[in-house]
Amino acid sequence: MKKYIVKRIFYMIFVFLIVSVLMYLLYNLIPSDPARAELEGIKTQLRPEEYEQRYRNLRDRMGLDDPILLRYARWMGFAPEKESGELNGMLQGYFGYSNFFKKDVSDVLPVRMKNTVLINIFVTFLALAITIPLGIVCAVRKNGKFDNSIQFLTIIGYSIPIYIISLVFIWLFAVTLRWFPVSGMETPGANYEGMRAFLDRVYYLTLPVLILTFASLGGMTRYVRTAMIDALGMDYIRTARAKGLREKVVIYSHAWRNALLPVITVIIGWFITIFSGSVIVETTFTLNGMGQVYYLALRNSDYELALATQMFYCAVSLIGQLIMDLSYGLVDPRVRVDK
């Protein structure tokens, strides 16, 4: 097992490096000039000499005139920095500089990560609490009226873009019923503290959490349903019933435990996604999370911020894949993961 994990970690490092090269090259292929983009808004206020000086300063500071491989090496921490002459890249824990926020990326992301994790924890918990029982009931009542209705609704929920769901929910719950605020993360200027601040935050996050939960119901419900239908068709279920076990015991103890095997990997996958924000919902609700910051970074050509976010997702997925593979072995003794 240990050998397997070590081997996988080496693979992960290799994949991470390949992805980093590809991502860095891709971002640098975009025909942009971040130095000029930064100055464009105030160009008319500057004299040509001033503009030129600022432009040259920025290009120099951003290292835009250096060869791309050197820039990559600096960014990763394989080559020394231009100014300090020291290694200071991703490998040393320096994730770059955000041109939009004028701060190191490591100062920009934590607060957003915290917001995203808070939202996604609620969403994941709620979605699992709804979809697992729903999927089980649908499987047990397969092709019945209830099952067909849920299948119909989940197809609709699955098919409607989340942007549309967001606007409909905002119109209904925020504008018409006025149950929740349209956007934001806390009551402006209220400066609540302690539990009041927490409740205020919950009040503001309820609608986006509901939307994200609603949007994620379809897929998981159908997945659980399918896994349960497969499990309920197995011989051991017939045996259990023949033994005279109560139907509840047959469903929850025998069928569900076996159906859990494929589902658990999806559940673990879900938990991994708590770090990745929803670009659309976070932007629509002005929730200051990972999705919004990624969108903002792309929109403002803040490529170091976008790259750092992307590489973070890459690392999370690689670790997630390892955990998922290991979890197979943990929950299903038939699967061996030591090779």
Binding site: I30, I42, Q53, P188, N191
Partner: protein, 658 residues
Amino acid sequence: MKKKLLSILLAAAMTLSLVACGGQEATETPAETPAEEAPAEEAPAEESAEAPAESRPNRLIYGSTTEISGDLGNEWWTNNATDMQIRKLIDDYHVVRFDQDGAMIVNSAVVDGDIQTTENEDGSKTFTVKIKEDLKYNTGDPITAADFVAYALVMFSPATLEAGGGVVADYVVGSAEYQSGESYLISGLRLLDDYTYAITIVPEYLPYFFEQYYANLMPLYLPMYAPNATLVVKDDGEGVYLDGGELNAEDINASRFIYEGRVSAGPYQLVNIDTGTLQAELTINPNYAGNFEGQKPSIETLIIVKAESATAVDSLKTGAIDILDTLTDGNLEINPALDLVDAGGYSYVDFERNGYGKIQFACDFGPTQFPAVRQAVALLLDRNEFANQFCAGYGSVVDGPYGLCMWMYKDSQEFFADNMDSYSYDPAKAIELLEADGWVLNEDGTEYSGTGTRYKEVTAEEAGTYALNVTLADGRILMPLHIMWSSSEDNPVSELLVVMLANGQQTADAGMVIEQTVMSFTDLLNYMYRDASVDAKYGVPTYGMFNLATGFTQMYNMAYEMSMDEAYWGTYNNNFIADEKLAELAWDMVYGVEAGDEATYLDMWQQFMDRWNELLPDVPLYSNIYYTVHADWLEGYDQSSYWEFRDAVLYASIANAE
């Protein structure tokens, strides 16, 4: 068992997340929470629209569609619109500023008397500024002339340059040497006494119509920029310098992000910026002496929050925000906002944009190098209809590079009526112009048949490297009336131009082809600037027509945009227009007219407009009418192109404020 374990893990994760994420995230100490503050369920400004007679908090929530990044660095750096808004609300006391009509004035709240001007024998000019003695920072610390001088000493310092703040230090005598590190002092800047400083401008930068702007400094609180040194401004008779330590780039950069206890001198002071929830809170600065009219704010608290464009009007409707500034999109923003106004509880103010959307031509190659072609394009487009459709009725058309709010325009109505061509939609006239200009041939050199693309016989110089030229067997070079158009993606202006111009029957009938290439805006700029430093392909003249927008500041200056000096081509003169008369007028208008000589300036401005209108390097398409919509309990709020929120809010008040 495994299920139980999973459940426990889920619960634990949830609890952990609540503990980790549930707290207040303000980066600074929040202001006192009003005891009577409504809980979240009692939606904050719900009462604003529905119960105007009740007393309400003396507080205004301003919705901004631009993110708060928290960078309060001054104009030495570039910061986004919302950060700039915050900075301008907390930093005032500029020596020179602009009034409601965009006119440059001496800030009488700061300057005692007028700025004294002395012309020196060597051609330089010295501006002596005596500041008032009762000015204070928000902390109550007194402001003296040394604080104004400190601004220049930090601004021009090598450390600021190292910190990425680019300010050219060549217009003040001795400042270039100071910035380069050759000198420890600025010889052209003098601290004459506690409340007087003098600044001397090099002759090369004179005369200048806006010359008083050279004297424009503002107070800078030195300890914020050098927290680890006790810097003092000194003048031993040779010029000013900093004594007691050295500035460094790290501290200067850090000053941009000081929120707690930020020392400032504007109508408001910063309480906090919460980068976690994208909110900023400001309260009245009790030590503010007023603006140039002595006006002080009465709204106690300003909250600036991020509002998403798609839901901003809904936020206004539900009372989550109280004011939406400068709405631009007619259908998505202005109409829904005006519906709110019609329903009651809201008011609005509208004002003209100081700029316009345009077609821009490259005037040095291809068909668009010929003024007749540019004029023909203008005549082939019904600009009034275009503006009406694009702005959904909230826009107008201009005939030159000006804004409708400019005093020069307002004083030139008669001149414009007599001299400016409005290029009203007239396809027949467009054809006449083209034929008179020689666009009378077919591709094979025969006389134009009346259908298809027109051609013109051109000289080798005119032909240049234009890729679509045809060389006949007899050596004649023919240029097709085929304009390569670069337009940015997801751009509704481009879509309307395709329908109303490029694919219009009138364009085909005129024998003109406008070929659209859609690209990113960055790519468009690269082609427009011919920026070969990004890629060699951009350095080759490829597109003759672009569509984008432009804006103007109060100091109207087109000298570099129209310059014939190739050093300015691309970045500034991106029309690549080389017309001696136009360049001279643009230059002399600001660099040949003495400050205060408004009559000469206006005369040259009119001549410039006339010449520009004739050469038509751009076709102005639309100039928006902007709307700012707010709750109707906000009284006395009046905004214009030159009078932004930060100015207007000083005169506004909240009805029945607590």
